[in-house]
């Protein structure tokens, strides 16, 4: 039986100014399948999908939907052609309710009331059918990322999408949430819907897709049946060389305690308690991994340790108490105390995107006498230092005078790491070290972290990637709702147990369930 492909792209090209994001790309997706797309950062995956969704206009090329040549000048046309898309960065209005977001652009008539009523009914229906439960009256900004993603999927389904594009949907999800997402995708596939899935996680590709395409530097380099390939092979296709997918590390030899945290509490601007009295310690030569679903207080913990947010409680660094609020509670004093901090969000915090790489290489340490020359900053000296560090961390391109925003995500992360690791800190705080970073860069970043540990440094790692936590940590602590749920030895636990703890199933209960399961 030969059916027309659900989607066929022919010769798509797209340039952003001098950047050729897509070069003569052709791809065909069969109906009722899940089609994976992988590729390094900046390979052009998102761009290609955005063209299909009418968000960008292709410079060249044709689009066929169900065999019909279709012009997609804007998203309206894409929606009409039955295409729905969940973007890498959600396109939701934060201070609108779920319902308002759902109907936006798909209202019936000029008045809202009937549209809202209709959407409420339809939503209940969809929720029942696909297990996509969200409170229709909740404000988006109060929802977890996982729920926000559900809203995006609901938006597409509400518009009766037959073809659903998901751009890196699992980057922000817990394993449980990811599993649930895949169950939903499975169900959709069974109903005959077509799904395109972009991800950096080869395991997901292997688990769920029927076919997979690989992109590299704007070109489509291969399309293979998932059943006929392996993760190693895909990684090689993506990066163009062999990649080590496992972290290679010796057992830890922890020394004395570097950081002690007691009864730490954080209350945010809105008066909500985000961290509810936690204790922890990190020793020399070990990596303490903190697992948890985003939004359970890990970010706040990092920010307090990094001197960004005020808190109450005690933090002892090498035996000395650090101030937690008021004067002295800031990033500078933390750095003096020997704490380096790779923040979770490199673009908002870790880097000044408009600054050049060399300016970013001293960011946070810019007051150090070593970077000063009299009253002025020693720009020439800093540039030389930056060049050295960038070379050592294989930042590409190795140009200190290029603005940070012109580096890809992975290379931006390398700049931050180069800065923080090269300062030779006693304690390294590191949040989401590989978020949105491709396989090649992940490998490198993981190696650096382990090396630092082996030099006898203390490392506090926060990540929502359980894989990462499991493979890097020497001890694992799980946070839920501002509490510490308990600690595990990575050798003696698994994703399932951690997943349950992350969902707030209490420590003992988790062990029990573990025992039963």
């Amino acid at each position: 039986m030969t059916t027309a492909p659900a989607i066929e792209l022919k010769g798509i090209s797209k340039a952003f100014g001098p950047v050729q994001a897509n070069k003569d790309i052709s791809i065909s997706v069969q109906p009722g399948t899940i089609h994976g797309i992988i590729g390094e950062n900046g390979a052009g995956k998102s761009t290609l999908m955005s063209i299909l969704y009418g968000f960008y206009k292709a410079d060249k090329g044709e689009i066929f939907i169900k065999g019909q040549k279709t012009a997609i000048p804007d998203s309206q046309a894409a929606i009409a052609a039955g295409i729905g898309m969940v973007f890498q960065h959600f396109k939701l209005v934060e201070n609108f309710t779920v319902l308002e977001n759902i109907i936006l652009g798909a209202e019936d008539g000029g008045l809202l009331r009937p549209s809202l009523a209709k959407a409420r009914k339809e939503l209940a229906h969809l929720a029942a059918e696909y297990e996509l439960n969200v409170d229709p009256d909740a404000l988006i900004e109060n929802l977890s990322v996982g729920h926000q993603q559900r809203v995006e999927i609901l938006k597409a389904l509400y518009r009766q999408a037959e073809i659903l594009i998901l751009d890196e949907p699992t980057g922000v999800l817990t394993p449980a949430e990811a599993d649930q997402l895949f169950r939903i995708l499975d169900r959709l596939r069974e109903e005959g819907k077509t799904i395109i899935l972009i991800t950096h996680k080869l395991r997901e590709i292997m688990d769920i897709t029927n076919t997979v395409s690989v992109m590299r530097r704007g070109e489509m380099t291969a399309t293979v049946k998932t059943s006929e390939t392996s993760p190693e092979h895909l990684a090689e296709l993506m990066v163009g060389r062999k990649v080590l997918l496992r972290v290679d590390k010796k057992p830890a030899t922890p020394g004395e305690t570097v950081l002690e945290v007691e009864k730490l509490r954080v209350i945010d601007d809105k008066g909500v308690e985000r961290v509810k009295g936690i204790d922890l310690h990190v020793r020399k030569g070990e990596i303490l991994g903190i697992a948890g679903v985003a939004g359970n207080g890990q970010s706040e913990l990092l920010e307090v340790l990094g001197g960004i947010t005020d808190a109450t409680g005690t933090i002892r660094m090498n035996g000395t108490n650090l101030p937690l609020s008021g004067k002295g509670a800031h990033g500078q004093s933390r750095r003096h105390a020997g704490i380096a901090h790779v923040p979770e969000d490199r673009q908002r915090e870790g880097l000044i995107m408009e600054y050049t790489a060399w300016e970013n290489v001293v960011f946070g340490y810019h007051l150090d006498p070593e970077y000063q020359k009299g009253m002025l900053m020693d720009n020439a000296g800093i540039q030389a230092t930056a060049q050295e560090k960038m070379d050592r961390f294989d930042v590409r391109p190795p140009h200190p005078k290029l603005a940070a925003k012109n580096f890809s995500g992975g290379n931006q992360q390398k700049i931050v790491l180069a800065r923080e690791i090269e300062r030779n800190p006693d304690l390294l705080l590191i949040g989401q070290p590989t978020r949105g970073v491709d396989i090649g860069a992940i490998e490198f970043i993981h190696q650096q972290i382990v090396q630092l540990r082996d030099q006898g440094k203390a490392i506090l790692l926060v990540s929502v990637e359980l894989d990462e936590i499991l493979s890097l940590s020497d001890r694992i602590a799980v946070m839920f709702d501002g509490h510490m749920m308990g600690e595990r030895d990575p050798a003696k636990t698994d994703e399932k147990e951690l997943g349950l703890m992350m969902a707030g199933i209490s420590d003992t209960k988790a062990t029990q369930e573990q025992a039963h399961g």
């Binding site: 960004i308 990033g331 901090h341 915090e349 000044i352 300016e359 946070g364 810019h366 002025l376 900053m377």
Partner: protein, 364 residues
């Protein structure tokens, strides 16, 4: 890699934008029944072809340099200081107090004292909005506008009730004593056989303004503070991460901005009128915004833009002297310059980028 060569970005685009503004201005002049070419010639003759014309052009440019730098410094910290006008008024009060109540032996010392007073008073007037912005989140655009109005009232109070000499009608101070009079360009450059800058108000303050351009450049691109100001301006969350206190930077940047705006009054009050008059600021605080924008917040750009606006001011005065064109024409021309160079700059940039891209593709 950029889409256009750097020179095109900083030279070609402003030039074309200026040209567009000039064309539109010509149409306006035509519409009110005058000859734009003759008008333009009159402006150039009056502002650039005589030394006295330069004396005026540079006098105005001095004002605009100070206010332009003030706006630029605040811009680097991502703040929009619309309060230059009020800060300059307060600066004027500072100059007046310094010149009237302290017996200076010589102008060279007096100018130091008066500049300090002007900077302090201007900075003080920027302090409150800055503090409110940093601590209370009160929008600085609104508070600085309000502070312009309040400054006008304050200045008026002092001039009418405190500083006005008895019997004088004018809400102005008495003439400052002789030792505070600053050497004008005429004093400095004229010789008996070759009189230059006759009667023009440009004075030593011009050199202070030029020095201020250099200093601001150093401050912003060569010092720790400048590094922190720019970092804060680009990303407040980034600044917090690095341990840069937003409150501190907001306040310091605004203090510097206010001080620069305040310094303008040294030129007008000490240099030109030699007394403090009510409207000595004459909207230079607002022109400063345009100057900073046109100069892309870079001191050298500010310098050039200030001279352009100085030319427009002086050329406009010449128009008003010798033709029937109302003085508001100059306001219109300024508005068009600001519109085209500041707001509609992409109208020129977008096609140019395409052009350069096509050229480069052609080369490759």
């Amino acid at each position: 890699m950029g889409k256009m060569p750097h020179w095109a970005d900083i030279v070609l685009i402003p030039l074309i934008s200026l040209l567009l503004a000039a064309v539109l201005s010509s149409l306006v002049i035509l519409a009110i029944g005058e000859n734009p070419i003759a008008a333009f010639k009159l402006m150039v003759d009056g502002a650039l072809m005589r030394s006295a014309g330069w004396g005026y052009t540079l006098y105005y440019a001095t004002n605009f340099m100070f206010t332009g730098l003030a706006v630029a410094v605040a811009f680097h910290a991502r703040m929009f200081n619309i309060g230059g006008e009020g800060q300059a008024m307060l600066g004027g009060l500072g100059v007046a107090f310094a010149c009237l109540y302290i017996p200076w032996p010589h102008w060279s010392i007096a100018i130091l004292g008066a500049s300090t007073a002007a900077a302090l008073f201007g900075a003080f007037w920027a302090l409150i909005p800055a503090y409110l912005q940093a601590k209370r989140g009160s929008h600085i655009v609104i508070t600085t506008i309000m502070f312009n109005f309040i400054a006008a009232a304050l200045l008026n109070y002092f001039l009418v009730n405190v500083l006005r000499p008895p019997r004088s009608m004018d809400p102005a101070t008495a003439k400052f004593p002789e030792p505070t009079h600053l050497p004008s360009f005429q004093d400095m450059f004229s010789t008996a056989e070759n009189p230059l800058f006759r009667g023009a108000p440009a004075n030593v303050t011009f050199f202070i303004a030029v020095a201020a351009c250099f200093l601001v450049w150093f401050l912003i691109w060569r010092t720790k503070l400048g590094y922190e100001i720019r970092a804060f301006g680009f990303s407040e969350s980034g600044a917090k991460y690095a341990g840069i206190s937003p409150v501190r930077i907001t306040v310091i940047a605004m203090l510097i901005s206010g001080a620069l705006a305040g310094l303008m009054s040294v030129n007008t009050t000490m240099g030109e009128s030699e007394r403090l008059v009510l409207n000595s600021t004459e909207g230079a605080g607002f022109i400063g915004i345009a100057v900073a924008l046109m100069g892309r917040s870079h001191p050298f750009g500010v310098f050039l833009a200030a001279i352009l606006f100085g030319f427009l001011y002086q050329g406009g005065a010449e128009l008003a002297l010798w033709t029937d064109i109302p003085r508001e024409l100059i306001v219109v021309i300024q508005a068009l310059v600001i519109l085209f160079t500041g707001a509609l700059d992409n109208m020129v940039r977008m096609p140019l980028e395409k052009l350069f891209l096509a050229l480069r593709k052609g080369d490759a």
